[in-house]
Symmetry: C2
Subunit: 203 residues, 2 copies
Amino acid sequence: MAVRKKSRAAYHHGDLRRAVIDAALVAIERDGIAALSLRELARKLAVSHQAPYRHFADKDALLAAIADEGFRTLVQRLRAGPPLTGDVTRALTESGVAYVRFAVEHPAHYRVMFATGGERRDPLATPGGAYDLLATGVARGQEAGVLPAGPKQELALLCWTVAHGLAMLAIDGKLGPAPAALATARATIALQVRTLAVAATAR
Amino acid sequence: MAVRKKSRAAYHHGDLRRAVIDAALVAIERDGIAALSLRELARKLAVSHQAPYRHFADKDALLAAIADEGFRTLVQRLRAGPPLTGDVTRALTESGVAYVRFAVEHPAHYRVMFATGGERRDPLATPGGAYDLLATGVARGQEAGVLPAGPKQELALLCWTVAHGLAMLAIDGKLGPAPAALATARATIALQVRTLAVAATAR
DNA sequence: ACCTGAACACCGTTCAAGT
DNA sequence: ACCTGAACACCGTTCAAGT
């Protein structure tokens, strides 16, 4: 029994790549990116400290993979919201909430996505990426008269700024514990959308 | 000559504490907080690797000192803006610009101020701190009729969110190179202040 | 696609003993 | 308020040789 157990435990059966990423997310969430240690991950997964190098060239490649995964998931979440064909005000609000919710639910992903050091690309600016979705939303909002006229780019940046700002404040604990933080973020987004709508109809 | 040079170089004459902080800021700006190494700082300053410990209990104490310095400087910069007794719209705009400018000019400070890991306090919430200044500005804005009515706290959080969001995007290079980034931030802040003013007078 | 095991140059931090 | 120097347990990363 002991022998069988040992010989079976010698190899990691399953998706080590996945397991390394998941363990890294847990570690980052607890101790921050700075404290991430590949050797510690390997220890926790009971594989040799060299095994992770089968899947990631180095520590930065692991972080890049996490960032990639984060951007893909974020776009999915944004696409899952209410369609822009209906109530545009609501759609814009829910998009913002979904953005912050993603950050709150995946703080390690979000941190890595916007961390420096790796000089990573900017998948937000990718065609079909999050920024594209935002630009479309802004255009619809202007057509529907719930966003003020003016350069779409400026408005899109303002919206992203609010979402990103709230996301960072939320995962840094500046908006209180997780459930309250999301409610506060929602209220702030709603205030912003309302303000923009009022300004749009004012002239 | 060689002897004299060696014996004089043996000690660090001057403010080692200051020198360590400055060297840390340079290192963080270049390689990020994660890559900061006390031993490397000591080497660069030509002191023993143990000397910095005279001034900082550990690495985290050094980061805490940097964060402290950052919060103090930020408050100074915000206080240096145009007074709230005059053109409130302009004062609010310049406050926001000063906030982002601080981040752009002191990216390492700003990063450390909002970095996790150290579980630091929140000097923003300190009496007389940055958040107090913001709350006062919001109150004046409402009195002057350039900010919409409503809970001051919600408006203050929205303003902080925009400033913090722009600051983070700027130092992460998402707004382009430094000079352009500040201009973009200014335009975004102006758009937000204008929108709020229009919404305030709409009803 | 994993393993063991050795190796290298680096860390943060502590200690002991100096000036 | 600094120094030298040794020490400890840790890192990321590379290599060699296995299954």
